[in-house]
Symmetry: C2
Subunit: 340 residues, 2 copies
């Protein structure tokens, strides 16, 4: 391996709310050399997640916040380019929490898995076969528990998780309503992801359009946004409805929590169940979900869209861009793996 630089995206200050480009800095170090039991992964794809907002927050959250001065935590997919670990030879395609950097020095335990779906693009390991697909599978099927014929509504329906939720719900015999922002995403929901209805939350008559789309009531609401979109959905719950709390993308800051209409009466009168989950609690579920997801992708029943940014320079602003809604599909950063 020739010596070259390893560029890394480091968290330099802690945002109150959504991380912006100014909260990161790109630094250059040397490419690491593996010690005993270690490997070096050359990242080809870095993942960008709405959840990263929480990962850098010091406010109570579900994981330790990324330390200031350290490489931004992220999923990545790449290949092993140097190895001192007998089980992980050079050339193996792997995925794991390798961080926003070109080369990652990791020990065997930090590798989430060897990527076995060699017939599918490597990038799918981060989206439809990665955290997003698994999140949709677990949240919808294990928490939402939809039954055939029920109406499933999902917010951020054109996104990496939402698009999977809608398609998995349809595969389970449900009627699906997607909520998304703007006409382009609405068409994507209808034409590519096969939602029965898609509603633009930016439309001035959104509440009426949602009411039309949900005239039979909402049996399962997979909530990626919270906020006014959720307020509108809550008024359409059926008796026994399930609300899956997966994300709160529409709320710029929870410190302090913003005000909204109280929901206890809906929960009571509709005997509804509202439940949050964090997919990292369910690592033992991933393999079984991935088996389903890969089969559906191969069968053309589960479609996905990727939003690819080019080069590590794109990383610092990439989370903020997600919250600006500028991506179409799963946001990824492609690193030029050819140039070594």
């Amino acid at each position: 391996m020739t010596l070259r630089s390893n560029r890394q995206v480091v968290l330099t200050s802690r945002p109150d709310g959504i991380p912006q480009a100014e909260h990161f800095r790109i630094v250059e170090t040397t490419v690491p050399v593996p010690g005993a039991g270690q490997v070096v992964v050359r990242n080809e794809w870095l993942s960008v997640e709405p959840a990263m907002r929480g990962w850098v927050s010091a406010v109570a959250n579900y994981s330790e916040p990324v330390a200031l001065g350290s490489v931004m935590r992220s999923f990545a997919a790449g290949r092993i380019v140097a190895s001192q670990h007998p089980d992980w030879p050079v050339g193996t395609a792997v995925t794991g929490m390798f961080g926003w950097q070109e080369f990652a020095l990791v020990d065997g335990t930090q590798i989430e898995r060897r990527i076995d779906e060699v017939d599918l693009p490597l990038s799918t390991a981060l989206g439809v076969l990665g955290i997003n697909g698994v999140t949709a599978h677990y949240g919808l099927l294990q928490i939402g528990q939809p039954k055939p014929g029920e109406t499933v509504v999902v917010s951020t329906a054109a996104g990496a998780v939402g698009s999977c939720v809608g398609q998995i719900a349809r595969l389970h015999g449900c009627r699906t309503v997607g909520i998304t922002g703007g006409e382009v995403k609405r068409e994507l929901c209808m034409e590519r992801f096969g939602f029965d209805q898609a509603v633009d939350y930016k439309a001035p008559d959104f509440p009426e359009r949602l009411a039309d789309a949900c005239s039979g009531g909402v049996d399962v609401y997979f909530d990626n946004t919270a906020g006014p979109v959720t307020d509108a959905v809550m008024t359409h719950l059926t008796i026994g409805a399930r609300i899956v709390v997966c994300g709160t993308a529409s709320i710029p800051s929870w410190n302090p929590p913003p005000l909204g209409p109280r929901i206890e009466r809906h929960i009571l009168v509709k005997r509804a169940r509202m439940q949050g989950f964090v997919i990292f609690d369910h690592l033992d579920y991933y393999a079984q979900a991935r088996t389903d997801l890969a089969e559906w992708v191969r069968g053309g029943q589960l479609k996905y869209v990727e939003d690819m940014l080019d080069g590590i320079e794109a990383a610092p602003d990439a989370i903020a861009g997600l919250y600006r809604g500028e991506n179409l599909g799963k946001r990824l950063i492609h690193l030029n793996a050819g140039q070594m």
Copy 2:
């Protein structure tokens, strides 16, 4: 049976929010005579429930609203004084939805049950062995699912449901924290109902007192109030907490819903589950719950307090009084059964 008058409390207008005395009128009719398959029950005890607010509301609810001009719906307990039904002889003590009236003409199907606990006061059929005890039993054990050693918090802790929740939780090995209004009720919670801690929500430093009482976090929150009390509890949830939504007593009107701090982030980060229930969905659960409750009452492990109003004249203002917090324990109206 001598002819005498039957006084009834009739709903005359529909409140927006909490029903007041002015929404009812007392009318006099003649005591009914049973037809074939019918009985006449002389009510000795009428029940007063916070849930009656919902029963008279035209806003979406879990039951058909009481029709204007008809007798106020309520549980009652009394004895059969005239019968044309072979299974229900004169003298039988019964309970059911007999309404706010001195005499009720009912057919066999309207009788909820014969009161078998002849060793206990008849009034217990409406409270600790009635809808309140069963509600506490089902909501806490079936929805809250407390485990020994967990902390269970309940709002309206001195009330008919809340006091049962606390005691049942303690019988299941939980640490219990009651939230109630004022020092008298706080002492009642501690001394009679055996809560480990009781906190006065009217105290200026309520949030700090609650934080002290819940320093290990809240595993189960049995919510009878919604509103600011609930907002304070939500900040102390443990991971995997359960919130049982049983009532919304602190909210005077849901039309429109009042604003409060959004809760989605708590639900997500704490992987919490918030679930509403309506006890009338679970009629098949009553008998098993009542067996437990009666055993605990007889054993002195489940204490109750009754707040008795005298005469049907007290009924029209009785719901409003509940919401003013003037009762201590289960509110009942005692009708003078001796005078016939």
